[in-house]
């Protein structure tokens, strides 16, 4: 039973990381890429780490409980650090003069192609 939960958590965590990477490549500009990087990161690392913590608990000793607690602390750290990193990235990009991509550009390109 525990193994099944751990497998589900690990597989879905990896799937979310895959989605993050696909988004990172496919999104059109700097800001939207930060969206993909910051959001996919949080949930997938939470899933992977909690899967590890639960798997570690199956040994049923006090030491493994301590290790799982440490993993939970890492999850809390990711929770705080990931949005802060995303914010400082976008702030740096904004102050450096990047402006968001808009999909008017796509419409104009298509109109030109139609002509």
């Amino acid at each position: 039973m525990i193994e099944l939960i751990v497998k589900i958590l690990l597989i879905s965590g990896t799937f979310f990381f895959l989605g993050t990477v696909v988004g990172l490549i496919r999104f059109p500009d700097f800001f939207t890429r930060v969206h993909a990087a910051s959001k996919g990161d949080t949930l997938s690392s939470i899933m992977l780490l909690s899967g590890l913590a639960i798997y570690n608990l199956s040994e049923n000793s006090f030491d493994s409980l301590l290790v799982s607690l440490k993993i939970v602390l890492i999850i809390a750290f990711v929770f705080i650090a990931s949005p802060a990193a995303a914010h400082s990235l976008t702030e740096a990009g904004f102050l450096a003069g990047y402006r968001p991509w808009t999909n008017d550009l796509v419409d104009e390109k298509e109109k030109e192609e139609e002509k």
Binding site: F16, G19, T20, V22, G23, R26, F27, P28, D29, F31, T32, V34, H35, A36, S38, K39, G40, T42, L43, S44, I46, D63, L66, V67, L69, K70, L73, I80, P83, A84, A86, H87, T90, E91, F94, R99, P100, W101, T102, N103, V106
Partner: protein, 172 residues
């Protein structure tokens, strides 16, 4: 002195979890280290002048509900980003833009910080600039832009905003 004691307890719990050894030597080192650190820098941890003990208690009670709600939003935002990432016509359905949101109710620095962090975690929005009470937010689509700022602001206010700060304003 209360602040230092609380800092000391938190530090010592952390020490126990991270060291994982329970002989006299390691416990003694942990006690000494936690004592020195809490005496030197205990006043940094709970230093907001507007917060009373009552406010900390209220935050501690309401925090679990807020975390559950936030976790639900993180789930939604992840599914949303992945839906966009795999969508074949992604460039047509997104419409990124910058929004400026003025918060009226958040006066405390810490609740503003929580607000900015939570905006980054909710679906499709990232905080770009935070200048006192005006937040510049990058939203990835119409759906994301419509979801702001409520009910996030009132949630943050209920959970983290100290009560005394609003009373002060009314007196002035």
């Amino acid at each position: 002195m209360f602040k230092q004691l609380l800092t000391f307890i938190l530090l010592f719990i952390n020490w126990i979890i991270f060291s994982g050894k329970f002989d006299l030597f390691h416990i003694a080192i942990g006690l000494i280290a936690a004592l020195i650190v809490s005496l030197l820098s205990g006043h940094f941890v709970f230093d907001s002048p507007n917060r009373k003990v009552k406010d900390y208690l209220r935050t501690a009670i309401k925090m679990p509900f807020y975390i559950v709600w936030l976790f639900w939003n993180i789930l939604k935002s992840n599914f949303y980003v992945i839906y966009l990432a795999f969508h074949p016509n992604m460039k047509k359905i997104i419409s990124p833009r910058l929004l400026q949101i003025k918060t009226n109710d958040l006066k405390d620095e810490f609740s503003r910080y929580v607000f900015a962090q939570s905006v980054t975690l909710t679906p499709g929005t990232v905080t770009v600039l935070a200048e006192s009470d005006v937040f510049t937010i990058h939203a990835i689509s119409d759906y994301a832009a419509e979801s702001l700022p409520n009910p996030l602001e009132s949630k943050v206010k209920n959970t983290f905003e100290p009560i005394a700060i609003n009373n002060l304003e009314e007196n002035v």
